[in-house]
């Protein structure tokens, strides 16, 4: 008892409190670092090769059609242009059609926030209480009556509205415009307002965005599941791109008769409904066809970077090894010479 009493302030003698926990102390020395160089290079170069091969296997076709029409001025004035396309190689497997935009800043802060997620979620927003984040694209003065815009905001207002008709000879290549949005976006984030089975009624209170040619309930009259907010082209557009140079999916090749293996090589015609103005701000528009791999689209940078980095590690490792050996030799030499004298 006295033992305990007299030492009641004795600190606990535990490994933690005495800072004696078993510890692994990596020591950086030539012996431990040199292998790291070689291991990294051995791991990275093959990965790079695989990635590069995968990327090279992707067939991609791009056509910049920005200049097929001159004097185009506004989104709401449609015109068309016809482009002849030659596919040099066949595109096997799933073929995706994209439109690509350049110099279009979908990542601008004020642009990005100019939307109303609740509206798109299907919440019936009372006439004048569309989110102010959409301003000034939230309300439309329709001859004195203020009507909310559906869908509101700059993003929706600037929706890409060129359409492509891709055909081989007289036969149209079946490109479906569904399945391009994220399934979760389609099923959860985007919902039409009530009554969902009668979109004309549902959107009757709303005005269309000023740049649009037709209201939201007319985006796809043919397919009711692809209409209103649930239009996949619209959903895709609403997911703002990270950079000003981006592409967005337009449609997927429907692999029906004649196209079961993909898109065969040959002559094709592309009919563009040219609406979307980009020339004024120096933007470009592209039509893209591409197959995909497990790594996504064509991108050789990743593979090359792996190979280069692995190679650099290898060279660095060899250099360091030589320096190390040389240093050791000179040390030994000097030791020997000192011993001799």
């Amino acid at each position: 008892i006295t033992e305990e009493k007299t030492q009641k302030h004795l600190p606990d003698n535990t490994a933690f409190k005495q800072q004696r926990l078993p510890a692994w102390a990596p020591i950086l020395s030539a012996k431990s670092t040199l292998p790291i160089f070689f291991i990294v290079s051995i791991a990275f170069v093959p990965i790079g090769v695989v990635l590069l091969v995968t990327s090279e296997a992707v067939v991609e076709f791009q056509y910049d059609y920005t200049d097929c029409i001159i004097n185009q001025s506004s989104m709401t004035q449609p015109c068309t242009c016809v482009i002849n396309i030659t596919l040099g190689t066949s595109m096997d497997g799933n073929v995706y059609a994209y439109y690509g935009l350049t110099n279009f800043f979908q990542n601008h802060r004020r642009y990005v926030k100019s939307r109303d997620d609740n509206q798109l979620f299907g919440v019936h927003v009372a006439t004048t209480s569309v989110s102010t984040s959409c301003a000034p694209y939230n309300l439309f003065n329709d001859n004195g009556t203020i009507r909310p815009i559906a869908p509101c905001g700059a993003i929706a207002n600037s929706m890409f509205n060129d359409t492509f008709t891709f055909s081989q000879g007289s036969a149209q290549v079946p490109i479906v415009r569904t399945g391009i949005a994220w399934p979760t976006d389609y099923s959860v984030k985007f919902n039409n307002p009530f009554p969902t089975n009668d979109l004309d009624q549902a959107f009757s209170q709303y005005a269309k965005p000023s740049n649009w040619q037709k209201p939201v309930q007319s985006l796809d009259r043919n397919l009711s599941t692809n209409n209103g907010y649930k239009n996949e082209a619209f959903i895709v557009w609403m997911r703002t791109a990270a950079f000003s140079h981006f592409r967005k999916p337009y449609g997927i090749l429907n692999r029906v008769a004649g196209y079961t293996n993909g898109l065969p090589s040959g002559q094709y015609t592309l009919l563009v409904d040219y609406n979307f103005p980009v020339t004024a701000f120096g933007g470009r528009k592209r039509f893209i066809l591409s197959t995909t791999s497990w790594m996504g689209g064509k991108n050789s940078f990743l593979g090359v970077a792996y190979i280069v980095f692995g190679g650099m590690c290898f060279i660095g490792g060899i250099l360091l090894t030589m320096i190390h050996l040389h240093a050791r030799n000179t040390r030994e030499m000097s030791l020997i010479s000192r011993l001799h004298h």
Partner: protein, 1203 residues
């Protein structure tokens, strides 16, 4: 008397707490950012989201404050509702009352062992002598009892001891409430117009103290509640800013500058970009117009952009760093506190960190200023020698043979010992010191014989020997306690048989009690033979006794046989029972009596003097102001002059001593006490000698203080006395040289006329309220003059264990060690030598002058001679070392440290390897330290144990207090409290180094981490038209620092060890890193920033190229970036981590898992929240792509490869 220490009331809590919190810069910054977010043009993040962290932090702090306050409230209630006895004038009886209802002027009764409720003027005590004892440990930590006296009675029936409050009618004048615990004075003016009576500290009972040894006391409340000295002394915890923190703050400013620059770039870029775009009609497509439909003015847009950037890049200012540092330091303190190596077993004291926020300063100390007494030494005073009338009397202590000095002019006791040897064999063997106890004084046989052969009564009262011992016995402030609680417990062991019979009954018969009387030398043999036979028997049954001790017992003198007990004694927790039968002692027995004492295990025998037997069990002394006093009293005790009793009767104090041989008592009437102070360096008592009625002043004090006040005519009075003074001086020098503390003992016989004249003046001085202190000192000095030198004492103060090693190690670590002491030069240099501060072949420069001018000159010549010798470079590390003794003999050193001299002194001192400052007053200690700190801008540490070190401890960057013998004042004012000097080694070399290294790397890491993260967002501005766009999801942005990357650096800050403890202790040179700031330079800061820049560039642009021209969404890509950043930043820390324990692994892997878990869960539960970034299902999608994983791997590898 109601006390309220709480800061808040229920109503005021919210506003007041918020107000207090907003006093912190960090919180204001946060709130400013949040408010910015509410401005729609500027807002980058959802305002309510951005509020979350602020609210969390404010909430946590508020809850913490609330808990603290609630604790205070509870203790307040407890204290306020404590009960005490208060007199009610209605029925003249004491009634129970709550403390809170007490008022100034109430008359209170406090009973034994209860706490004093307010500051009370003592009017009555149950003790017939009018004294009471209080324990002030609640106030200053000193556990000894202090005596307080009743105010001299001057009302009612003065001679009646009883106290009738009704009769008490007086006006009390006193100072306004102040916080000086040790100072109080006032006057009491009797209502009936009597003489003013001065009251002082000795009449005041302070709140918080405890009444001891007195049944009850009664007094009048002078200060109550918050005005009590205890409450006024109640300061909050110390706050110091560490060097690293100061350094860090400059870097924070750099961060602010960097932030502003980045914001400006963003803002200007935005302006230019916007003005380019404003000409283009269609740009409206992605640059939304203002609400009024107009395009935004580029200049205005740039202005908005600036603030948006401030919000986005806010993390660059590492606000979280302050919080993290507090947590880490708390952890470090915890680690230091629980270090078992810093725990002192003997006194059961672990180290205590009192300052929480300067742990890393321990790793950067450049100068250590140490007190000598009690810090380097044990401060267990052992009376070792004395000189009386010019004759030296050495005392054996613990079996060491006494060293005798040989005076050149043939002292009366010529011994052929070599003087050099005597100095060398200075008694510092650590083995002996552990056993040393101040109570063990072995009288010198010669002196003892002299003393008893000249009985006091036959002397004409001016025999020096008698006066000497009487002085030792009565001229002090030692409190006598009759408690039998000490180690000497003879009277409490009623039956010795019961102790030991149970162990070995048969042997016990042998060892019951032997009292052997023997002549001085001859009977040695008898005892030894007896001992050996005794122990041989014992050996068989108790193998604990080893061979060595048996041998010792046979070989050496009976005095030495005390060594026998050591192996067993130390293992026994000090439980000792002495069996003493003093009845058997013949009163005429010779000085040496061997007495066998029994210990629980029965092996111990101790020779004890018969004189001790009679008296020692009866008294134990609670030492008061200094342990020296106790040592002197014990010494007198050993010679039979026993301080037996103090009493004060109706204002008359008296002190009783008993004389050797049971020869009766002498009761001295104490006319005055002239207490010790550091200016006079001496104390005196004026007593009326009962032997002849003479008024005598007994004075003891520092030799300089006494020697300068000696009787002037003594020089030519008689040859004899001059001779005595000279010889005493010589002995004093020698004592000093072997490291003894010296005190001079003197007396002065006063005539009645002299006394009454002085008394008149003194009373006047006492009554003066304004200049009282100065006048009192003047009055004292006037009295302490014309002294007659009786002799001098040498008290030994042994070095603590491990002191030389510690000093050596500190020095190797590049720390300059200075010793600043109040001791005399000889003592100081000697201690300096014995603790290896001064080496054998060191050159010692001594600066001892009388006047400032001379000092200045001396400094000049010394500096120039040093310049000649070693060239002009003022370097600290010279091959040849150089020691410096600042021994200003003059009393006013503050004046000598005038600017010019100070400069020269510093110039010289910085080139010295170590400096010893002697004869320093407490104030001077602080001044010396401040001088060095200010002139050289170095980190200083002061270590000391006594009240005289407080100024030094407070001035230093780090104050270390030793919880030693001299109370707790040093500890109370210190940042770290240690039990032993040697602990300093591990504290500095190991904990200091670790904490410095840890914190330095943590701070750098935080800067790096925040910068790397912020740079990512900054680069993005280039891509998004400097619009303040942000690819990183808002909640990541806010909790990235808070959760994802916060724990591992904290763990590192507490646990990482760059070098293990054993290596640090073995190679003190490693400490230099901290001194030279090597781990955290301006350069390292920028290197870290560059690292952050590089890594952010790699992460950002690699991922940009990889994801360029793909369908990747803004937030999707931001998620990839964030993930890469988490990996890079965490692995970066992993590379920085020097030692990996399982805690590190858990935290590192845990952090990554938490990040993924958070993002996966958060991205799935919320489909519409947090617009515009709304990350629904992003993470889920991202981790399904190979691109993501391969990019992360590549980026992480490339970003971290340079490391």
């Amino acid at each position: 008397n109601k006390v309220q220490t709480t800061k808040y009331t229920v109503l005021s809590f919210l506003p007041k707490n918020l107000f207090e919190q907003f006093h912190r810069f960090a919180n204001c910054y946060f709130v400013f950012i949040v408010l910015l977010n509410f401005v729609p043009q500027v807002g980058a993040i959802q305002p309510f989201v951005s509020m979350a962290p602020v609210i969390v932090i404010l909430f946590i702090q508020a809850v913490k404050d609330l808990f603290e306050d609630y604790g205070r409230y509870k203790s307040d209630v407890e204290i306020n509702s404590a009960e005490c006895f208060v007199l009610k004038s209605s029925d003249d009886k004491y009634h129970k009352m709550k403390w809170s209802d007490l008022q100034v002027g109430d008359i209170v009764r406090v009973v034994c062992n209860s706490v004093i409720p307010a500051d009370i003027l003592l009017l009555h005590s149950s003790d017939p002598d009018g004294i009471c004892f209080i324990e002030t440990s609640n106030l200053d930590g000193e556990s000894n009892l202090k005596q307080r006296m009743v105010v001299p009675k001057h009302w009612g029936d003065v001679n009646n001891h009883e106290f009738y409050p009704k009769e008490f009618k007086s006006i009390i004048e006193c100072q306004t409430p102040n916080n000086e615990i040790y100072k109080f004075h006032g006057n009491m003016i009797p209502a009936n117009g009597g003489e003013k009576i001065s009251v002082n500290n000795s009449n005041l009972l302070l709140r918080g103290c405890v009444i001891r040894n007195t049944d009850y006391v009664e007094g009048i409340v002078l200060y109550a509640g918050h005005e009590t000295k205890a409450m006024l002394n109640n300061n909050g915890p110390r706050y110091k800013r560490s060097k690293l923190e100061r350094r860090m703050n400059t870097d924070v400013i750099y961060c602010v500058v960097l932030l502003l620059v980045m914001c400006l770039i963003g803002s200007v870029g935005n302006g230019i970009w916007a003005s380019n775009m404003s000409n283009i009609e269609q740009a409206e497509l992605f640059i939304p117009n203002e609400e009024n439909g107009e395009a935004l003015n580029p200049a205005l847009s740039g202005f908005y952009m600036f603030w948006t950037m401030v919000i986005l890049l806010q993390v660059l200012i590492p606000i979280s760093l302050y919080v993290s540092m507090e947590i880490v330091k708390w952890g470090q303190v915890h680690m230091i506190n629980s270090d078992i190596d810093l725990y002192h077993k003997e006194t059961d004291t672990p180290i205590r960190c009192r300052a929480l926020n300067i742990t890393e300063d321990l790793g950067q100390i450049q100068y250590v200023f140490s007190d000598k007494t009690g810090t380097l030494t044990e401060n267990k005073m052992i009376f070792r020698r004395c000189t009386i009338g010019g004759v030296d009397y050495p005392h054996a202590a613990n079996g060491e043979s006494p060293i005798t000095f040989l005076l050149p002019n043939a002292g009366p006791k010529p011994v052929n010992a070599d003087d050099e040897n005597a100095v060398k064999s200075a008694p510092n063997s650590p083995a002996a010191s552990r056993r040393a106890r101040e109570t063990d004084v072995t009288p010198d046989p010669v002196l003892y014989e002299k003393l008893i052969s000249t009985p006091y009564s036959t002397f004409a009262c001016n025999e020096a020997i008698w006066d000497f011992f009487i002085n030792l016995a009565i001229c002090n402030t030692v409190v006598i306690s009759n408690d039998s609680d000490d180690s000497v417990t003879a009277s409490t062991t009623p039956d010795p048989y019961s102790v030991s019979t149970s162990i070995i009954p048969s042997l016990f018969l042998l060892s019951t009690i032997f009292v052997l009387s023997f002549a001085k030398i001859e009977p040695l043999y008898v005892t030894n033979q007896f001992f050996s036979s005794f122990y041989n028997v014992r050996m068989q049954s108790y193998p604990i006794l080893n061979q060595q001790s048996t041998a010792t017992s046979v070989k050496e003198s009976p005095l030495e046989s005390k060594d026998l007990q050591s192996p067993i004694f130390t293992s026994k927790n000090g439980m000792r029972h002495e069996i003493i039968q003093h009845q058997q002692l013949p009163s005429t027995c010779p000085p040496f009596i061997l007495l066998i004492t029994l210990f629980p295990f029965q092996q111990i025998s101790t020779p004890v003097l018969n004189t001790k037997l009679n008296t020692k069990p009866k008294f134990s002394y609670h030492d008061s102001e200094s342990p020296d006093e106790a040592a002197l009293v014990y010494a007198a005790h050993a010679y039979g002059c026993v301080l037996a009793h103090r009493s004060s009767h109706g204002g008359k104090e008296s002190v009783t001593i008993t004389l050797p041989d049971g020869g009766g008592k002498l009761e001295f009437e104490v006319l005055h006490k002239l207490p010790f102070d550091s200016t006079r360096k001496r104390m005196s008592v004026i007593v009326r000698d009962p032997r002849n009625g003479q008024i005598t002043l007994y004075c003891k004090g520092a030799d300089s203080a006494i020697l300068s006040a000696l009787r002037r005519d003594q020089q030519d009075d008689s040859n004899n006395s001059t001779d005595i003074i000279n010889r005493t001086k010589q002995y004093l020098d020698k004592y000093g040289r072997v490291g003894l503390r010296t005190l001079c003992i003197s007396k002065r016989v006063l005539t009645e006329a002299e006394y009454s004249e002085w008394e008149q003046l003194h009373r006047a001085a006492e009554r003066d309220l304004e200049n009282r202190d100065q006048m009192m000192i003047n009055s004292f000095v006037r009295m302490e003059d014309n002294l007659e030198l009786l002799g001098a004492t040498g008290i030994e103060d042994r070095l603590q264990d491990g002191v030389p090693e510690t000093i050596e190690a500190l020095r190797q670590a590049g720390i300059q060690v200075w010793v600043v002491t109040g001791d005399k030069r000889e003592t100081a240099t000697n201690i300096g030598r014995s603790c290896r501060l001064i080496h054998q072949n060191d050159e010692v420069i001594e600066l001892i002058t009388e006047t400032p001018e001379a000092l200045s000159e001396l400094l000049d010549t010394t500096i120039s001679s040093q310049d000649n010798k070693r060239g002009k470079l003022p370097e600290i590390q010279h091959q040849t070392t150089l020691d410096f003794v600042l021994g200003t003999g003059n009393r006013d050193q503050p004046d000598t440290l005038v600017k010019e001299i100070a400069d020269k002194f510093v110039l010289l001192a910085r080139r010295c390897r170590s400096v010893l400052c002697c004869r320093a007053t407490p104030l001077q200690k602080g001044m010396v330290l401040k001088l060095i700190k200010d002139k050289l801008h170095v980190m200083t540490l002061a270590i000391g144990d006594g009240a005289n070190d407080v100024s030094m401890i407070q001035v230093a960057d780090i104050g270390v207090g030793l919880s030693g013998q001299e109370g707790m004042q040093a500890v109370m004012s210190s940042d770290y409290a240690l039990a032993q000097f040697r602990f300093l080694k591990k504290l500095l070399l190991v904990h200091g180094h670790w904490n410095y290294a840890r914190l330095a790397s943590m701070v750098l890491y935080f800067f790096y981490k925040n910068a790397a993260f912020v740079f990512l967002i900054f680069w993005f501005q280039i891509l998004c038209g400097f619009s303040g766009g942000n690819m990183i999801e808002q909640s990541y942005l806010l909790i990235f620092n808070l959760i994802f990357t916060s724990v591992p650096p904290l763990v590192n800050g507490v646990l990482d060890k760059d070098i293990d403890a054993a290596t640090l202790l073995k190679k003190p040179e490693l400490y230099m890193q901290g001194i030279k700031d090597e781990l955290y330079l301006q350069r390292t800061f920028w290197i870290n920033m560059l690292d952050a820049l590089y890594q952010s560039l790699i992460i950002f642009f690699f991922l940009y190229v990889i994801y360029l021209d793909t369908e990747v969404g803004l937030i999707e890509w931001g998620t990839v970036v964030t993930t890469a950043a988490v990996f890079v930043i965490l692995i970066h820390l992993g590379i920085e981590t020097k030692t990996w324990t399982w805690i590190h692994w858990v935290c590192q892997i845990g952090s990554v898992l938490v990040f993924f878990a958070y993002s996966l869960i958060y991205n799935i539960v919320c489909a519409t929240c947090l617009p515009p970034s709304n990350p629904y299902f992003v993470m889920e999608r991202v981790i399904q792509t190979g691109q993501f994983w391969f990019s992360i791997l590549l980026v992480t590898a490339v970003a971290l490869f340079p490391r």
